[in-house]
Amino acid sequence: MHKSGGFRDYDWWLVVLTFAICGVGVLEIWSATHASYLAGMHKHQLEWIGLGVVLMFLLSRLDYHLIMDQAPILYLIAIVALIAVLALGHSRFGARRWLPILGGLLQVSELVKLIIIIVMARFFSEVRTEQLGLADLLKAGAIVGLPLVLIMKQPDLGTALVLLPLLAIGAFLAGLQWKHGLAILALAAVMVPVGYHFLKPYQKERVTTFLRPEEDPRGAGYQILQSKIAVGSGGFWGKGIGHGSQNQLGFVPVRYSDFILAALAEELGFAGVFIALLLYMFLLLRLVQNAQRANDRAGMFLVMGVAAVLGFHVLVNVAMVIGYMPVTGIPLPLMSYGGSTTLFVFLALGLVMNVRVRRFVN
């Protein structure tokens, strides 16, 4: 038995799936930007991916138990960073989300997501009862609630909401009782209209636009409409890489990032989307399998935390692209252009690898 896993113990299927998705992403980023002033973006993305791979392997070497031991300190760092970003963060597109670190701009909430995954895993792994008690549930809620509120203040509703499935999946796996689950759903149903009241105007607009896109096809509903046109006009086989008019002429909003799947759907058609979504499905299933094989509850919760966050990202992003959900600004993991988000996903996968290579450790 190995102390810590060797080369063969890494989940190479997971690596293959990850690289496949990244490859498709880089291809589409190139296609979406090569003919515009954004040309060269795919190279930056490749750099992020390279850095991500290195970080993934580095993180996998550091025993996750050691990491989880530091959960309280990490949590403290996360909260301080969030307050810092609110106080003196770098403002872009009307939101304070970035902190200047290492000569670049770090989107703090991505780091916070990673920390909350670790914190939640630690918390739920320490619940030793068969069923999750109400006190523990409320405690978990409070731990997630504080950073959630701080992220919403930035404002970044999308990222804030990502923390909820983390809580939900964790609680579910920790033995959430049906009555508690139903109570939370009922509470949520009441809170939604109240919460809507506290939304920023542009957020309200996104919601109303989502509910009634036809009312303003050239205004706020524009993005969803253009995305759907791109997807629909792709047909079965697509228009070919570099030949999607919606994509190439800039009708698809942020086509290299949040709406990259719309660009892909236009140029590679249903066939391309089918393959891309299957890749994501296998990736997620592979994570669940890794969770099953984890050596302990802590590892299982860690991997499922990653799965919850990535799964939520995929669901919300893809549903937005086809007009099933409002525009939230959540990127598609591994495919969308972006440094912080790419690094976050690779670090999260590093945690998974970490658990994976230690599955035989007792």
Binding site: I169, F172, L173, R218, G219, Y222, Q226, K228, I229, A230, V231, G232, S233, G234, G235, F236, S245, Q246, L249, G250, F251, A265, E266, G269, F270, V273, F274, L277, L278, Y280, M281, L284, L285, V288, A291, Q292, M300, M304, A307, G311, V314, L315, V318, A319, I322, Y324
Partner: protein, 610 residues
């Protein structure tokens, strides 16, 4: 195991998302493909120029000048909003004016570009060209606007152009589309199909901010065809300058072919006001003006013909043979009919008067008596035969038919019997008889050429129809001798004599108030319409000119005669190659014409009516 549940949730989630893609990409694919195409391609019209109008010698009466309209592309309203202050500044408008222009087009679909400035100045064009890259929401559309090199000359006949109405679009069998410029009146409307070209289309590929990034095939515009008119610019200019400050109409026609040589209606409008969409206040003012500048009096002015009607009476007398040819009447200045006294225009009377003298001196009592003998039935039949009461068929929209009363008409419209006294009034062209200047021209031409009623027309190569109302040689000879005498034998037009030209004609002075009503009020009716219809030569006239001057208190021979004479003289001067240079160069003031008249011994000094 709860992890297994989550696996199923993952598979279900991916399946649901794939279902969403399947619906968009397979089920509704065609619809979205169309939408994508609509996004990608913008069609910018290439406006076809309208055909020009030329006079009979090819001189330009109406043509076009190129102009640019500034278009605002509104694909992205928030984008547009951002540029407004810069655009307003660049185009020399206030921000409010610009917003008003945009608000005015609120009802139009947002993807359609709107015109924010119809006439771009050179500096506007420079502004747009130099900001192509940083203000991508502006575009220029080349249009052709009507140019009227001679101002309001011939405006009533030419008509004006304007944006097609919704009803016209509907009635056009999809040949017209909203926003098209079409002829709204006059020749512009009559020959719209010829004049109007077919717009082309420039199809360009645009990006999401509406910037042109490529071109597709282009469909060129087919320009409208020019039309040549029968108008003679020289004669038109003569008539026009005389009428400049008057109210009335002049029509000159070739008596053999029906070609209209000149047509004036005053007051008129300035067609250039319509060239770039007329402001609604101005349009209201034109339409509610009591002087009716929008009316083409030459074909729409329905007026009592006065003594010119006596030519119809004379023709009826000779043709019907209801009274003997040597029928004579003693004129004492007035006469009794049906218990009422009817006056002659000459209170002292004309004494013993036969037909020739009656025409030459325009004796009212002779024609009262003749009317009583003929009866309204015969008068109506001959008047109708000579074209009264129906349209001449001139190639202009909106021609009026005038009115030739009859017993049947009174019965039908007023449900009472014909008043015998009315016949007496009708006999001198008063009462309810109403004619248009163009009808009078055609009538005189027909009487002088033996009964050929030619269709007056303005289009040079129109094959005119001719109605026939055959008149005997004796009738034509006697009546035309009478009209020759009006001018050449000391008659009511004796001041108008022309040397070497068989200038003939008939004056008319129609009271706007009847003699009776005037007498009751203790005075003679003052306001009159003065007519003169002159032609030459005496038989088979080449040129027939009718003029009416409205609202003057003078005799028709005095007010309307000179312009008729000037036009006829200009026609002959031109024919014999003597046309004075001063007549060809456009004079917009009357004294120019008078100066010519004074120099020319063939034209007698204008004198007051005897």
């Amino acid at each position: 195991m709860r992890l297994a549940v989550i696996s199923y949730v993952i598979v279900g989630m991916i399946a649901a998302l794939l279902f969403g893609f399947w619906r968009l990409q397979i089920v509704d694919s065609d619809r979205y493909a169309q939408l994508a195409e609509r996004n990608r391609v913008r069609s910018i019209p290439i406006i076809a120029p309208r055909g020009s109008m030329l006079d009979r010698e090819g001189r330009v009466l109406v043509d076009n000048y190129p102009s640019f309209s500034v278009l605002l592309l509104r694909d992205d309203p928030s984008e547009v909003e951002k540029y407004l202050p810069q655009i307003a500044d660049g185009l020399g408008m206030t921000l409010d004016e610009l917003k008003q222009e945009i608000d005015a087009s609120r009802a139009m679909p947002k993807f359609q570009p709107i015109v924010i400035k119809p006439e771009a100045s050179p500096s506007d064009i420079a502004f747009i060209e130099s900001h192509r890259s940083d203000i991508p929401v502006l575009e220029m559309l080349m249009v052709h606007r009507r140019r009227y090199p001679h101002g309001d000359m011939l405006a009533s006949a030419i008509g004006y152009v304007g944006e097609v109405s919704a009803e016209q679009v509907e009635a056009s069998d999809s040949k017209l589309k909203p926003g098209d410029e079409v002829g709204k009146s006059g020749l512009e409307r009559q020959y719209n199909d010829v004049l109007m070209g077919t717009d082309g289309m420039r199809r360009v590929i645009v990006n999401s901010i509406g910037k042109e990034v490529g071109r597709l095939e282009q469909q060129d515009a087919i320009p409208g065809k020019p039309i040549q008119l029968t108008i003679d610019y020289d004669l038109q200019a003569v008539a026009d300058s005389y009428m400049a400050d008057k109210e009335g109409a002049v029509v000159a026609m070739d008596g053999r072919t029906g070609e209209i040589l000149a047509m004036v209606s005053r007051p008129t409008f300035d067609p250039k006001d319509f060239a770039v969409s007329i402001p609604s206040a101005e349009w209201q003012a034109l339409n509610s003006d009591p002087r009716t500048p929008m009316l083409n009096r030459a074909i729409q002015g329905q007026l009592a013909p006065g003594s010119v009607f006596k030519i119809v009476m004379a023709t009826a007398m000779l043709e019907s043979k209801a009274v003997p040819e040597d029928f004579s009447v003693f004129c004492a200045g007035h006469a009794q009919f049906y218990g009422r006294t009817f006056h002659c225009w000459k209170p002292a009377g004309h004494g013993m008067t036969d037909l020739h003298k009656a025409i030459v001196d325009s004796c009212d009592v002779f024609f009262y008596t003749l009317g009583q003998r003929l009866g309204i039935g015969r008068i109506h039949d001959y008047a109708a035969g000579l074209g009264f009461g129906r349209r001449t068929g001139i190639d202009l929209p909106g021609e009026e038919a005038g009115l030739m009363p009859s017993e049947e008409w009174v019965q039908r419209v007023y449900h009472h019997k014909w008043y015998a006294g009315e016949t007496i009034s009708v006999s001198i062209g008063q009462g309810s008889v109403m004619v248009t200047p163009i009808q009078l021209v055609r009538m005189i031409a027909a009487v002088a050429n033996g009964g050929n009623l030619v269709q007056p027309h303005l289009l040079k190569n129109l094959s005119a129809k001719t109605d026939h109302f055959p008149l005997s040689e004796d009738t034509v000879e006697q009546v035309t001798q009478g009209m020759y005498g009006v001018i050449n034998e000391g008659g009511t037009g004796s001041s108008l004599k022309l040397q070497n030209v068989e200038f003939s004609g008939k004056s008319g002075t129609a009271q706007l108030m009847s003699y009776e009503a005037g007498a009751k009020m203790g005075k003679k009716g003052k306001e009159t319409n003065g007519w003169f219809v002159g032609y030459a030569p005496r038989r088979n006239p080449e040129i027939v000119v009718a003029a009416v001057i409205q609202g003057s208190s003078e005799h028709g021979g005095t007010t309307a005669g000179p312009v008729v004479r000037d036009v006829v003289k200009a026609y002959y001067d031109k024919k014999t190659g003597q046309l004075d240079r001063e007549l060809t160069t456009k004079k917009d003031t009357q004294p120019g014409i008078l100066a010519v008249a004074k120099k020319d011994p063939a034209v007698a000094q204008t004198q007051p009516e005897r």
